[in-house]
């Protein structure tokens, strides 16, 4: 336990409703003590957390800094080509060691804390302390201070198709086992070449991190909230699509096959806001796409527990990483990617379709606001419970997107890890 040290025990904070995963107590989205427990039991628990793309640190000594939940992390390429992830906190006074977002360290410098020049190697070992022996035989560290007893906390690291994941816990199963074959297959399918970064930005959201993750697994909302797609009949629930999960329902994929849309009376009745007959794109080239995947899937959102999303919105590929900022705020870091194998024309299509995603995304921008709407709405009613019953009461993949099965999957895992 590293962050819940002043929090009360979980049974004092949270009793799960008798109905199970179809009900979610609202105060889990605002309680600071539960938030601290989540840091320990989820982000530092037996989970794999996305750290970066391998292509960000191709050369030995190259590093980036990121976060796992609240914890600051350094990810660095070792001399032998492997990747090391360390908590970015000096054992001396607790200062951040690396304050640059990215850079390169040579073998001789390694990581030097700017405060008192305590020095660490890429494995997190404390190798040197400035004035360790004092100056002119005066001062210095006490004789019994043993540097080998102090080191940076190290995460276990594994990669898949250029994505780098880290875990704090030795109990976490190997990455591919953690993901399960369905998730592994989909990652390999989406990242079908050598990824390269086309752009990056982040979106600050005024809501608890779990509200965003629920949203990423909620395949019932997109055609309702995100009217852009349904207006242009690009992502209607009547189009062929579905929900896939791993065996344990930790992770989720929602997908659509655009060209199988046969129409549905519910959409043509004028009841759904998206249906505006007078609305049409003046420049339809925005949604020009090429059929990139043999499975004919034109949209897929893959959500890996706890805080990672792999996106395919037509030809816009990207990663989304959640970073927590206290109980009522979180940040989503978007990295839009192309493949080294792309032609210039394909790169240009990815560029144009970048308009669909991110904080200014014609399709996705509402996700930045909707969590904040919930966060505002629940104030004063923290004893209430959310209702998660669309598509039944259980978990598991379904051949429809009119379901919240994967939201229930999230709460199933949450309860397991928080033991509630």
């Amino acid at each position: 336990m590293t962050q819940a040290i002043t929090a009360r025990a979980i049974p004092e904070l949270l009793t799960w409703p008798e109905e199970g995963i179809t009900r979610v107590p609202m105060h889990v989205f605002s309680d600071p003590e539960l938030y601290a427990w989540e840091q320990d039991l989820i982000f530092r628990g037996p989970t794999w957390n996305f750290l970066c793309l391998e292509v960000e640190i191709p050369e030995p000594g190259e590093f980036i800094t990121t976060h796992v939940g609240d914890s600051p992390i350094i990810v660095v390429r070792r001399k032998d080509g492997s990747i090391s992830a360390l908590v970015n906190r000096c054992v001396h006074k607790g200062s951040i060691i690396c304050h640059q977002p990215k850079g390169k360290r040579t073998r001789t410098h390694n990581f030097v804390c700017p405060y008192h020049n305590w020095i660490y190697d890429f494995d997190g070992n404390l190798t040197s302390i400035a004035f360790e022996k004092g100056i002119q035989q005066k001062g210095g560290m006490t004789a019994d201070f043993d540097k080998t007893e102090h080191r940076l906390t190290r995460l276990n690291v594994e990669t898949i198709n250029g994505l780098v994941f880290g875990t704090f816990s030795d109990e976490t199963p190997p990455l591919r086992e953690y993901l399960g074959p369905v998730m592994v297959e989909h990652i390999e399918r989406t990242l079908h070449g050598k990824p390269k970064i086309l752009g990056r930005y982040s979106q600050m959201m005024h809501n608890n991190w779990k509200l965003y993750i629920e949203n990423s697994r909620d395949n019932y909302h997109p055609s309702l909230l995100h009217a852009f797609f349904s207006t242009f009949k690009l992502n209607r629930l009547s189009a062929e699509g579905g929900t896939r999960q791993d065996d344990k329902s930790w992770h989720h994929i929602t997908f659509t096959k655009r060209y199988t849309d046969k129409g549905d009376a519910a959409y043509d009745s004028g009841m759904i806001r998206a249906q505006k007959e007078d609305f049409g794109l003046k420049d339809p080239s925005l949604i020009d796409q090429w059929m990139e995947f043999p499975d004919q899937i034109t949209n897929s959102i893959q959500s890996i527990f706890p805080g990672f999303v792999l996106q395919q919105v037509m030809n816009s590929l990207g990663t989304r990483q959640i970073i927590t900022h206290g109980p009522e705020k979180c940040e989503l870091v978007w990295t839009l990617i192309g493949l080294e194998e792309d032609t210039e024309e394909q790169t240009y299509v990815r560029l144009k379709q970048s308009n669909l995603v991110g904080p200014a995304g014609l399709v996705s921008m509402e996700d930045g606001a909707i969590g904040g709407f919930v966060q505002k709405g629940i104030k004063g009613d923290l004893d209430k419970r959310a209702i998660i019953e669309m598509g039944g009461k259980s978990v598991g993949g379904m051949p429809t997107r009119a379901t919240e099965t994967s939201v229930r999957g999230f709460w199933k895992v949450y309860r397991e890890l928080m033991d509630v």
Binding site: Q203, M204, F228, F279, D283, T347, P359, A369
Partner: protein
């Protein structure tokens, strides 16, 4: 170089000419008027006017400074013709869901750096304060406009505007153009 290659080479840095070429006063006036009218149209919620500040074939992008400076392609917003800008306006009026808010732009003086390929290359600092419908105010964005401006008589139009935002973080959403 193919058309697409040219389009992909978007964020080339314009180096100021060593010798200051005198810029005609009429050109300076036309550019100053463009800058002024552009921000007032947005701040006054006359967004329909916004696409008309651009030439028909144009580029409008919003991209974080750190990305722009390293020549990355994708920011949060990219349009390559006026019809796309108009679609953005329709979307914000008719489709997208967000809490009502307004911007207040404050812009600095425009530095005209160069005249090349039939356009004036210029940059202008801006700051945007966002006011939400509940009265909450915040500095939403600060950065620079990096422009290519075509001047014809008294009329100046944007052939390209890169809104280079100092921060790579955007609060909630960006539905109104900067």
């Amino acid at each position: 170089m193919g058309v697409v290659s040219k389009r992909l080479k978007m964020n080339s840095t314009v180096v100021p000419l060593p010798k200051q070429t005198p810029i005609p006063a009429t050109v300076r006036d036309a550019i100053a008027t463009l800058q002024m009218q552009y921000v007032h149209a947005i701040d006054d919620d006359r967004i329909e006017r916004w696409p008309q500040f651009f030439t028909e074939k144009c580029v409008y992008q919003i991209i974080p400074r750190v990305e722009y400076d390293q020549g990355r392609l994708i920011g949060v917003w990219f349009c390559d013709n006026r019809a796309m800008l108009e679609d953005r306006v329709s979307a914000l009026r008719e489709v997208n869901v967000y809490e009502p808010h307004v911007y207040r732009h404050v812009i600095g003086p425009t530095e005209i750096i160069d005249h090349a390929d039939g356009a004036y290359h210029a940059r202008t600092s801006y700051i945007v304060v966002r006011t939400m419908s509940d009265g909450e105010m915040s500095v939403f964005s600060a950065g620079r406009y990096v422009d290519e401006i075509v001047v014809d008589g008294e009329t100046a139009l944007l052939r390209k505007r890169s809104v280079v935002t100092d921060s790579y973080r955007y609060d909630t959403l960006v539905v109104i153009p900067l």
